[in-house]
Amino acid sequence: MSYSINSRSKMAAAPDEASVSVKTEPELLEDVKQESPGCNEHEETVACNGVSLKSPSTLAAVTSQAGSSEAPDRQTLLAVLQFLKKSNLKESADVLLRETGIVDGGDESPEQQSEQDGTEQTLLSRVTAGNSSLSSGGGAANSSGSSAGVPGKAPLTSGPQDQPDVSAVLSAYTQQGDPALYEEYYSSLKRFIESVLDCHRAELSQLFYPLFVHMYLELVYNQHENKAKSFFDKFHGDQECYYEDDLRILASLTKKEHMKGNETMLDFRTSKFVLRISRDSYQLLKRHLQERQNNQIWSIVQEHLYIDIFDGMPRSKQQIDAMVGSLSGEARREANKVKVFFGLLKEPEIEVPLDDEDEEGENEEGKPKKKKPKKDSIGSKSKKQDPNAPPQNRIPLPELKDSDKLDKIMIMKESAKRVRLGPELLPSICFYTFLNAYQGLTAVDITDDSSMIAGGYSDSTVRVWSLTPKKLRSVKSTADLNLIDKESDDVLERIMDERTASENKVLFGHSGPVYATSFSPDRNYLLSSSEDGTVRLWSLQTFTCLVAYKGHNYPVWDAQFSPYGYYFVSGGHDRVARLWATDHYQPLRIFAGHLADVISTRFHPNSNYVATGSTDRTVRLWDVLNGNCVRIFTGHKGPIHTLTFTPNGKFLASGSTDSRVLLWDIGHGLMVGELKGHTNTIYALKFSRDGEILASGSMDNTVCLWDAVKTFEDLETDDFTSATGHINLHENCQELLLGTYLTKSTPVIHLHFTRRNLLLAAGAYSPQ
């Protein structure tokens, strides 16, 4: 297969040791991909038609997108079918159809089928749109690794603008109803919903927003502009306040021509809005609409909404409000049913050299008893296999080097001295202020051992500071390196050039604001992602750029290293998150499915999963192994700017512009907590090393500490809750707030717990 060659060829500049240690990796991942039976066939069909999907990533996109909802192969087939139809290759399509035996609407309800069509069309539009840019990018990278495409220059709106399938999507609106009656339809439904029993009213009220949007868009599309305006003016006040951002975009859209370029509305059209309604309420609605012969609304419900019907008690208003708010409604229940291996991987057995001095030192202090059990607990944790953990070799991980083992030993030693935090013993907080950051500080990261801090700036620079008295030094030049005695014991010290020692280093290379920085766990590399569409890998030995990973082509909002190194994930304006390996210039996986920009990414502690937060107000969890979306969390009312996992991997915390932190149970796929207390966007979240305390940092110049133990303790995840997904949140999250700490008019944009549980916070001083 053509793409396997591409992805296997290695970048010359890629770091050597990493590539050596994980060389089995690409094969394995590709094998997995080949398992899907339809794959070969696609290749052939597509190739014989003279159109080749050049990049492997497009296929990955296909699989991943499909996997998010249905069985991957089937979805892929449908996508290919659609593509063939579009290219007027009806015969091939028929052949394919016959061979695979897919009958339209066989075992599925028509509404589901049409939903799939919708998905395919978006998907295809993505694939075709992405294909051109990707192939040009790939080509450039192949030839010289120079500039791929023109990042940041392509117009945002041009992507889907002139594609036939978009107008096909929009043409679903051509059905003519009497525009004058729209208001009447809507208000009659409103009257009906207001008249039903209280228990049903809350559920049925969910219909208002999607119906409102679709009816408005229909009016606009059919060029009843004045009608559309009056319709909007009349009913926009009824919508929930958390849809205000979308309504604002909607209000500015008053012409048919505008709809073509507007991505938000395109998403609204192409993805079905998901509502979760109890069977009783649904029957009530159905009966009403059929009795009244309210065909306009009924057809919208059938075509553009996906109603997830469940048996049992209708949900309360609070329960609904907690879960809705995303661009596409709630997550379907079946989307969160896949098993997730959220346990931690077994730590490799490292023979800790018994350093007697340390032991004796402890003994002298007279606390030998305390020391022992602590050590045991750490030891047992790593020895016992977690039942929820993925198989050790589920995804290939780099082998440990000697230096990594030394580091592990250091971590274990440090963790023995760790402060046990709790509501009574809160961490000390130390705030690193970036002074004179006139360039605009946009991103901060601190190494795991808290020895270095990196800042990304709006002026395209990345600056690295040493937080210890040890200065930053580069390695000597090649000529000088030849002179040193390689056999000497202190060779690692000798290779460093003392003349370059300084407190901070500036890394130049990006051509746009740097939106994220991330240190590799071994502190040898630094990642930075920028508006210029690239992710760059910097060496912290030479303080030079090693690789520029091109592929996003649009601003890359976030990038983060895997906790085991080697892999990293990035997410950007192109609405996908990409998984990369440091020695591959093309992504290994593309996680596609978000309906808007991916603005935050985070690796699960076991490195098998990636969580992404998006402007579409959902959090998704992706499986690194097969690229599937395994969890969709809805409930945030604004873009999600930060994510963090608990150290045990069971829970996920997300912070958003809605000033709230939401906590999610990964295993059950449920929301388990809501932390309210901030007054502005939350940009930083971090759990303490043992997971007792959650620290959150916000634009409102405060750091808040939350009692994580208590939050997760009183969870009653009975079978009913996990089956229905209905949640009851604590009313008083103020009990969980342990403290609020003010900075000196400095927004908090990064938080970090040192290995001994000292909390470090960072931000740039910004006078009002």
């Binding site: 003016d233 975009i249 370029g261 002074l435 605009g440 946009t442 604001p513 873009p639």
Partner: protein, 615 residues
Amino acid sequence: MGPLHIWMKMSQGLLCLWPKKLQGVLRQESTMFCSCSIGMTHTEDRRYVELCQDSVRLTAESVGLEITDEVAALLAEDVCYRLREITQFSAQSLRHSRRRRLTVEDFNRALRWSNVEPIYGHGSPDPVLFRSVRDGDCHCAEDREINLVDLALATSIPKGTAETAVRVHVSYLDSKGNLEPQGTVPAAVSMLTDDLLKYYQRVTRAVLGDDLHLMKVALQDLQTNSKIAALLPYFVYVVSGVKSVSHDLEQLSRLLQLVRSLLSNPYLYLGSYGCSLMQSVLYCVTEPLAASINPLNDHWTLRDYGAGLLSCIWTHRDLEGSLYTQVLQSLQKVLGDPVRPLCSHYGAVVGLHALGWKAVEQVLYPLLPTYWSGLQTVLDDHSMSNAQVKADGHKVYGAILVAVERLLKMKAKYCEKDAGPSPHDSYCTLPPAPTVSLLEMYNELYCFFGDSLAVRFGTGGTPLQPGTISRGQQEPKKESSVDGVRKMPQLTAHGEEEVTNSGRQPQRPPQISLAASSSSRPRGASQQGQRGQGVREAFQRSRLAPRGSPRFTFLIGGRQAGRGGNGRRFQSVFQLHTGPTATPSRYAQKLPMIGRMTKPGRRGSQAELSLYLPL
């Protein structure tokens, strides 16, 4: 040509034409995008920018396009939509930059993403000012003209932006720390951590206590300690207690020394506390303190010290001169209030002096004519009951004299600079305007002070740091005038006993006639080849200057001189035009006989100390 295409072409012009509107929208949108919880309270028309078709047509004409109404209307609508779209993109850029304020940069970035050329020329972090154009309902950005010459020759060179750095600023130990909101003076001291509380108590006790050595150590530590930021409000609070100890000069001066220590501590950020400190100091300088009732108390020194502090405060790095006008106004108020006692006026004068010669020119000089009459009456009253007040009056007189002397000197220096590096040559070509006003000022001041001003007025070849020159040279030329009796500095240089009112009048005409021939002056000066001659004539009635000598050197300082060399010597080499219209002053008749009045005794020595201000 599709509408979008036209729009791209026109966007530049459009955006420039309605920046006011646009900015309003940007602000609105950004706030709306940043906060998600606000309700639908905005009225519909205020939420979005609306461009009328006339505007579009105008813009089109300005780029040379003729468009019909229909096209204009369509375009206007489309441009509105694009603007909104771009605003939404820029809000996204804002969020990712972790900022609160939407900048021009964000908007430009959104334009670039949309493949539209960005708008050049705006990039300041400060908000852009808009003003309306008088004819037409149009707003445009304030575009001040900057005089590059002034900028290039400015003496205050702005420092480059400091280096970006990471510093630990706020620390909460075990999550405990000073949670006091900034900018308020706390009610109780008990809210600090134990260590800080102890430090605070020790230091305040030491500063206000009896042990001089301890006090010095405490003040020294206050100047250098980097960890007392949390205590700043408490110290400010302590200092604000000046009002309660106005009877105790010793305590007052200690508090002022505390202020000086706080001011010189580089780790403290004064911020809003600067104002509070300034008010406390101002209280010491200008209020009629309880301590000043007793003439034995040397409250003058305190006022002088306070005045020095005032200048420290307004030039302090944290305050950036923001308090200057405030101080100036309060001093003006004090000086303009005839009801206040003379010691208050004295404080105001030394305060103005400390603020710099410009402050003196701005406030004291215009007030002088009115103030003079009041002072005159005090000084002319020879009754015994008035002795104390009169003594105070002399203090004020001396202070004013020192202030105006500095004013004249600085003014003269300014003129010299203005004249360029070769003053002789430039005389003939450009008689600079400030010279005239200087002369007028001198004339007017001379009417008040007479020769006492003239002899003190020395600049020219001497650099304006008298301390450096005066120390080494101890050769007073007019020792005869400096005898033990004359102790008031303003009197010391007065050697000629025969200076009288009547004696001055007839002497004026020849001098004026000499000065009036301004056109022939330069030639005459060059003919003579003696700068000194020409220069000396600027001092219209300074009969003290030895005729033949090119330089005039004298000493000020009664006892200082006697002690051996601590006096100041001034050299009166000063190039100056004598204006053609040296009108006889209307104050001429009022000239006091100050030169002859000598006040022997204790007070004189104090005065000399207190007036010994650096010029």
